[in-house]
Amino acid sequence: MRFKNVFSIIGPAMIGPSSSHTAGAVRIGRFARQLLGEQPSVAHICFYDSFAETYSGHGTDLAVVGGIMDWRTDDERIRDSVRIAGEAGIELHFTTGIAPGVHPNTVKIKLSSDQNEVEVIGASIGGGTIVIRQVNGFEIKCTGELPTLVIGHGDRQGVLAGITALCDKENVNIGYINTDRVGRTSEALTVVEADSRIPEHLIEAIRALPYVNRVVFIHLD
């Protein structure tokens, strides 16, 4: 079954005019913002394929920026997000690009602050549903529909076992998990999507595991 939830039929609550052009775009922007963990000082937003053609007429630029402000899909400030973000001191750059083989509604968002920099590539696949395809160059796949942990770590034996054991200990069922690495024993990124709430002390425990560098909790709803 493609749809598993009554709220994907009645819902989401959102700012119009189009679930893939606004609701989904907000969620990709918000994913990037939560990954950075703070308000960025600079945002580079690049639209691809169909998004590149249609983003302006549908307010997709406003929606992505609303997400970068960490707003929900139905926040009425989205109409004015570019102005509000500008007043908050965020430097915004919009471009369009060509990327072969991507979903028609794809956007790349690069956010930087004094401390940090993240790059996210995501697609809005309809009805407000998104798929995040790439984080900081790592090929991953996640939807942000479940409480999500993005874990940067060294590619070492036992890291994944450590993560899953801690989840088990806290009775957190893992719905999806995937890992990508630069190369053997090099940098790796693991995304964990959980079926239930992820308690703060579980996040702390994972953060304390050997070879784990960074753990970010992402919650879009």
Binding site: M1, R2, F3, K4, N5, V6, F7, S8, I9, I10, G11, P12, A13, M14, I15, G16, P17, S18, S19, S20, T22, A23, E53, T54, S56, G57, H58, G59, L62, D74, E76, I78, R79, G126, G127, G128, D195, S196
Partner: protein, 293 residues
């Protein structure tokens, strides 16, 4: 969920002596691990958003972000209040409310996708006007949204609900079927009658293409929401009167899949055909592009 099609859904209702709404509510609780109360609360918030959108479009000056549309809901409302609508006051009210929510959507206002943003006016149009007419409590309408959701869930999983995949029949058509079935149940009809209403409604929109001018969710999307609300009432009335969908509703849903799958891509939201490519549609698109630059 324990049902894959409308036949299984209706059988489940009979077996457990429950409404479609109740089955959907309980199955959603089971699937999500949330309590019935939590789920009802979310749907209650959604209904509030729908009512607010109806009100907003009738009381504020709404213009779409492109500047192409706006004000039609108010026009129809003042005409309705003059007392002369050909479709009668009740259908005119549902039509007006549907136009209102769709205009709010086009102006980047807050709405609930039902099942999509392009078709977000039909269910609020039918529900809010019926609430005013019959004096129902919010709780009754919130249950009605679960009934509509169950119908939409079946359509979405067996056919489609997005214009990009299956044309306007999949968006506006699905919303009409959902609203019609829910209206039957809200008025005390049986699950079987509700299911017939879905088939009756869908038959009337089979083949409807998605051809928005400039690719924007405005022309003809907004007026199709207005028409959709009226058609939903008509389908509910036929079903409540005992009219049956001779072709079973699940088979009509299959036809929607067949028709939508064979629709050329120019008639599936790409603005490459239909109304979007008429001389006037092209002129509007050209002017918009110039203005954007």
């Amino acid at each position: 969920m324990r049902f894959r099609n409308l036949k299984e859904l209706a059988a489940l209702c009979v077996k457990e002596e429950k409404s479609i709404a109740r089955i959907m509510l309980e199955d959603q609780a089971e699937e999500s691990g949330q309590s019935v109360e939590e789920i009802l609360k979310v749907m209650g918030e959604y209904y509030e958003i729908m009512k607010t959108a109806v009100h907003k479009g009738l009381t504020e000056d709404i213009t779409s972000t492109s500047g192409l549309t706006g004000g039609d809901a108010k026009r129809v409302e003042s005409y309705r209040l003059s007392g002369t609508p050909a479709v009668g006051d009740i259908a005119a009210q549902a039509m007006t409310y549907a136009l209102s929510v769709s205009e709010v959507n086009a102006s980047m206002g807050r709405i609930v996708a039902t099942p999509t943003a392009g078709s977000c006016g039909i269910i609020p149009g039918v529900f809010v006007s019926a609430q005013e007419r019959f004096g129902w409590e919010d709780e009754h309408l919130v249950h009605g949204l679960f009934c509509a959701g169950a119908i939409g869930y079946v359509i979405a999983n067996n056919s489609f609900i997005s214009g990009a995949e299956g044309g306007c029949q999949a968006e506006v058509g699905s919303a009409i079927g959902m609203a019609a079935g829910a209206m039957v149940e809200l008025r005390g009809g049986t699950p079987e009658q509700a299911v017939h209403a879905v088939g009756l409604a869908l038959k009337n929109t089979l083949g409807l293409i998605c051809d928005p001018v400039g690719g924007l969710v405005e022309i003809p999307c907004i007026v199709r929401n207005g028409f959709g609300a009226v058609n939903a009432l008509a389908a509910a009335d036929m079903a409540l009167a005992g009219v049956r969908s001779v072709i079973p509703s699940d088979e009509v849903i299959d036809v929607m899949l067949e028709v939508g799958s064979s629709m050329p891509s120019r008639h599936r939201e790409t603005a490459q055909g239909g109304l979007a490519q008429t001389p006037t549609g092209r002129k509007i698109m050209k002017e918009l592009l110039i203005r954007q630059k």
